[in-house]
Amino acid sequence: MNKPIVAWWFLAPALLVLGIFFLLPVLVGFALSLTDYDLYALADLHNLRFVGLHNYWELLHRPLFWAALGHTLYFVAVGVPLSMLASLGAALLLNSPLSKARAFFRTALFAPVVTTVVAVAVIWRYLFNPKYGVVNFVLMHLGMHPIDWLGDPRWAMPMIILFAVWKNFGYAMIILLAGLQAIPQDLYEAARIDGASIWRQFRHITLPSLSPILLLVSILTVSGYFQLFAEPYVITEGGPLQSTESVLYLMYDEGFKYWNMGTASAVAFLLFVLMFAVTALMWRAGEAEAAR
């Protein structure tokens, strides 16, 4: 048995770093969200005033906040199901006993996950360039009208969703693939003997066995997608007409462009509460489903 004091020496570096650079700022952040910290307070702390929940109240009455929230929810609500479908589809293909060169395809499909968002966003901007981009070139060849991806507020967010799906689907794919491989083969064997079709096997064996993992990766993806920032920052700069300005983008602008640190902190905490509520709801729903 070790002496208890030894354990604390081992823990000290990690707890210090986490305490100073994570826990403390989170607590200070909440306090900050209750103040009117702005450019004047930045210059001289005497200008700082406690304002209670005023920042939150004011945000909830601001169209720009609701717009940013709407864009973020749009991104999550459309992007997450699309990502999950792509991940599940790719995992099923890779898991098929008929597929060849699986290691190669797995690596190829996963590659975008390890790339740098900023760098691949720069590629995306070229691919979707309204004038010279290959996407519009293909569209025109198919007899469709070219789309002003970067300039039309209706199309900028769909483009960013496509980007996010391309960039991220490989992550859930790998985890789902591991889940698929863990399903006992004799279940399928028995189903085949009973004459169950491929679809029925998928519906009654694959999906139920996979559902806990599916729930987990959906929750991870949802919380990742709520943190939308770098994509619009690089591809559209939040435009056109602020149609891709996300909640985090608003936080960044409020905080580091206009130095309204109090308001920006309130934005951060509202996002946190929302993420927490949505993911907790998903857990609840998932557990209720499993208990049925």
Binding site: V26, T115, G255, A268
Partner: protein, 274 residues
């Protein structure tokens, strides 16, 4: 049966082509003469390949500096968090102390807090101690947020496999705790340390929002921050921007390809925490 085989493999080939196309084209455009990528039909291959874009980036756009910054910052974050997380992960797995499970539960609970919540106050705190626009200003907070809690979790899961008898025997022989850790535990933890190092390095390299906030001067920019700033100046210089993207992405892609096994294991271990 033969048809399903065609369908499945055909679909895989199509998916891989679609997924890899942007990356392949990035590489191709990066070798094109300035101005040639902005034409119709979009050229697939450079007519007269050149390294001029790369030369331009390193000579006039400060890309060499950004690259060195990225290497230094990512390496420092990786080393620091390896030290912190290995020590803590081992303590949570194998050392006895009051409140161990409770403290660990608190840490895991902290995972629900997104790092961005800490960013504004962190910026102010760093400003008051003079760490804004310094390497330390990126490195120290990133050690906590980039992979901190997950790193501790990964090491703990792995270290739980070490038999207690082995450690007890060493203690009976009179070995100190530090010596046990260095000579017995560390060698056994090697595979998970490689995993953790790769995951941390790649995440640190790709990290954008915090470096963007805290690095206010070009001389400290990392590659993603530098590239984002360049791309706002050079919106129409496709060839130059693709070369910049290659410089940013290639190191992580190569590292991933070389150490894929370790990386994917960390991904799977990390996702079963729920």
């Amino acid at each position: 049966m033969i048809w399903s085989k065609w369908w499945i493999n055909g679909a895989l080939v199509a998916a891989a082509a679609l997924v890899l196309f942007p990356l392949a084209w990035m590489l191709s455009v990066s070798f094109m003469q300035p101005g040639t990528a902005g034409s119709l039909p979009p050229p697939m291959l450079p007519a007269h390949p050149t390294l001029g874009n790369y030369r331009e980036l390193f000579a006039h756009a400060g890309m060499g500096r950004y690259f060195a910054n990225s290497v230094f910052i990512s390496t420092s974050i990786t080393l620091l968090s390896l030290v912190c997380n290995t020590l803590a992960g081992y303590a949570f797995a194998k050392l006895r102390f009051a409140g161990r499970e409770k403290l660990f539960g608190l840490l895991i609970g902290g995972l629900v807090i997104p790092a961005q919540v800490a960013m504004l106050p962190l910026f102010l705190l760093l400003k008051y101690v003079g760490l804004v626009n310094t390497y330390a200003g990126v490195i120290l907070p990133s050690t906590a947020t980039v992979f901190g809690i997950v790193g501790i979790f990964l090491v703990r899961q792995y270290a739980r496999g070490i038999p207690d008898d082995l450690l007890e025997a060493a203690r009976v022989d009179g070995a100190g705790e530090l010596r046990i850790f260095v000579q017995i535990v560390l060698p056994l933890l090697k595979p998970i340390l490689v995993t953790l190092a790769v995951l941390t390095f790649l995440t640190a390299w790709n990290d954008f929002m915090w470096p963007l906030i805290v690095l206010t001067g070009q001389q400290h920019y990392t590659l993603p921050v530098g590239l984002a700033s360049l791309s706002r100046e050079h919106v129409q210089d496709f060839e130059l921007m693709m070369a910049g993207a290659v410089i940013t992405v290639l190191p992580v892609l190569v590292l991933f390809l070389a150490l894929q096994r370790y990386y994917l294991r960390g991904l799977l271990l990390g996702s079963v925490k729920g």
